[in-house]
Amino acid sequence: MTRTNATHAPLLELRGISKRFGGVQALDRVDFTLQAGEIHVLLGENGAGKSTLIKIIGGILRPDAGEIRFQNAPVQIRNVAVAEQLGIRLIHQELALAPNLSIAENLFLGREPSRFGLLDRRRMVAEAERLRAELGLPEMGDVRARVGELNVARQQLVEIARALAGQLRILVLDEPTAALSEAETEALFAKLRRLRAQGVGIIYISHRLEEISRIADRITVLRDGRSIGTQCATDLDIHQLIRWMVGRELKGRYPRPPYQPGKVILSVRGLQAPGVRGVSFDVREGEVLGFAGLVGAGRTDLARALAGLAPLRGGEILLDGRPLWLRSPQDARTAGIALVPEDRKREGLVMTQTVGFNLALPWTHLWARGFPPDHARRAAIIEKALRSFAIKPGSPDLGIQTLSGGNQQKVVVAKWMEQPPRVLILDEPTRGVDVGAREEMFAIIGRLVARQMAVLLISSDLPEVMNLSHRLALYRDGCIVRQGFATDFTPEEVMMELTGAAAGAQSEAHDGSPAQERLPHV
């Protein structure tokens, strides 16, 4: 009796889980169930709350409200140790391995075999070998090799093997195939299917729609911290999934600047750089060129290359039709290319300093040429920036860390404007800022474009990048997959391209190798 009960009850059940970070409601009364022996795909845009949800399941975060039931009994997953005891294993997106240790040592980290208090290395190697054979992970390589010497795919396999060792009931994988080749992905899927047959419940997070039909039993979509709906793989409707994912109203909140393009300022032809694999595009004066893509598509690599932060390896960059070879950020700046980086706290601002210090920093050659420095000039530069970007509070002597995220971001943009650049690259300019600040940022983009500046807008927020941009470049795996006028795309189409669902469908139609189809420029 009890046994049949246990098999029918879900392995894991989340009821009304909520979690708030400061002003952001990351999860809002989310319900989720996982059966033993199923692969449940969790789908959603960046920031939909997937990572928060699995961190709660893994004991890394605790929910503000809601109930978690494990095998029909309420549990409190207070920390990682409790989760491990329940047999819950997380495979994080960022690898959690010690690069200086060998594969075997990493596999047994924290539970090393020992005899009379001494480490039993021979048994460790033997058990690691056994584990490798048992799990069918021959690609993992020599278990005595140092993890730091392995490529990312192999490191991922080590991480998976570590999760599989020992008592396992629930396995959570956060975008595990991001760094894997097609063959490695297939090997992983075979492994997951075997675990499913053994009754393990698997939660699988992915952006890639093409993978869903290959692996999922059920799919749940999260959007803006809410669970929107669940589908069974037996009646899979990709278009409905995409509508669920993008769902919200796409028009209205985003004032696209009037389109009055001038001449082409920047032409990029077959650009090669680390992470950039043959990118070509033009951008005109007064134009917003949006780069849509998923996190990890490599758009930041392109931004860094164009800002002179990464070595160029091939192709060409033309500024006003004249070739430009960027060797340093100084070269880019002289040419009139400025970057507002993705991570404003690490790359955009000197966080230990004042607002004024940050605003005046790029212009030391104007106010601190000789001795004594020209304090009046410095004050004028700061004052102008504070006023024209309505930075609040507008006092130059406040520490930058006392400002809100939105105002910090305005400082990062404003610090370039004493002598405005001709091309401004904005990498995720609205990440981590509240709604009001987002709208201010949109207005700033409009003003810059009206002054005939060219703006390259990188954003993982699909409605934002689609509605602000005049033209759109769809970016995937280090290249532009498609480009055109933003109004010519539908969100569903864009999502299909970005997730690879379109390429997957195409390759099935052509009966060709999917791996090659995924790389349109090669």
């Binding site: 959690a96 980290l109 190697v125 020599d142 005595r144 791996a515």
Partner: protein, 339 residues
């Protein structure tokens, strides 16, 4: 295409040099030792030619050399553990002095056992305090141990109005620490150095505890995710480093026949030099006790050789600095090529 690549992947080809051999750390560690052994051989040859009348390469001279490096090596073994987990301990030199004065003053009043326990105990206390601050606060270890270095020095100077405390002639046991010869020939400090070497090497390279130290130094987050009690390990490591400093302090006092409150100045820097020349990464996660022993030997040979060759002491500093730079530069380059 990728698939066949993977199948052809032959571990021996991918991880050249890691192929076969039953243990997997020893060969790699040994390979790391080879340049150090070569450097030692080269220095021995150099000084045997340079030092006049063949006075360098004699048994008596080399025995004397091992005796001279023993205090530094003992300090360096403890420091290796600290540096391996990404920390640093600047206080060891001052703790040498504190352990000396505390043990000798107890020795003269309460007997040899109390003296030894007291000297070791106060050193462990300083180490554990360093560890607690490092583990429980956000203060950087450099600053913590800079402060405890000053405090320890102050404590030492507070004894006997900063004058040396002589050891009574009847304290045979304590005097034996620094001056006895085991079996009639091997200096006692060298015996103790080897004992500390064995204990720390076994601890670091042969136990789960040591394994966890490598993990903490290599990726603190990963260590935390796997449930390794980082704070506890950190306190233990600093306390062990303190214990090494205490032992070194008592040997040093015994060798001098008195405890000097000003002893041990700059010892921490020589010990750090031995650790890094021995191949321990200053950012943590990579290193070994045998490497540190070889590092201490290299520093010791340089000291003695340059002295006996009659090199002016100002030039000795310059040469030692250059050797440290060269050793670490070589090590960093080699490591970067590998990873």
């Amino acid at each position: 295409m990728k698939l066949t690549e993977l199948q052809e992947d032959n571990p021996a080809r991918l991880f050249q040099g890691e192929a076969s051999g039953r243990a997997f750390v020893v060969p790699a560690a040994l390979r790391r030792m080879l340049p150090l052994l070569a450097a030692i051989a080269a220095l021995l040859v150099l000084f045997s030619l340079w030092v006049p009348q063949g006075r360098f390469l004699t048994a008596a001279n080399l025995l004397d050399l091992t005796q001279q490096i023993s205090v530094n090596a003992i300090l360096a073994f403890g420091l290796t553990l600290v540096i391996l987990i990404g920390g640093i301990d600047l206080s060891v030199g001052a703790v040498v002095a504190v352990a000396g004065v505390v043990s000798v003053s107890l020795l003269n009043t309460a007997g040899p056992v109390a003296g030894c326990l007291g000297g070791l105990g106060v050193a462990v206390l300083f180490g554990a305090a360093n560890g607690l601050f490092a583990a429980r606060t956000l203060m950087p270890p450099f600053i913590i141990t800079l402060a405890t270095m000053l405090i320890a020095r102050g404590v030492a100077l507070g004894f006997n109005e900063s004058r040396p405390l002589p050891i009574g002639d009847n304290q045979h046991l304590f005097l034996a620490l620094g001056n006895a010869r085991w079996g009639g020939w091997l200096p006692m400090p060298v015996v103790i150095m080897f004992a500390v070497f064995l204990v720390t090497a076994l601890l670091l390279h042969g136990t789960r505890f040591g394994q966890h130290l490598f993990a903490i130094g290599g990726n603190r987050e990963a260590a935390r995710f796997t449930g390794i009690p980082i704070a506890r390990h950190e306190v233990i490591v600093y306390a062990l480093c303190g214990a090494c400093a205490g032992l070194a302090g008592m040997i040093h006092a015994s060798q001098l026949y008195s405890a000097e409150p000003a002893a041990g100045q700059g010892f921490e820097l020589t010990a750090i030099a031995a650790v890094v020349v021995g191949g321990t990464s200053f950012s943590g996660g990579i290193g070994s006790i045998p490497g540190t022993l070889l590092g201490a030997i290299i520093i010791g040979i340089l000291d003695k050789g340059l002295n006996q060759a009659g090199v002016h002491f100002s030039l000795q500093y310059i040469v030692k600095g250059a050797v440290i730079l060269a050793a670490v530069w070589y090590d960093v380059r080699r490591r970067n090529r590998k990873l």
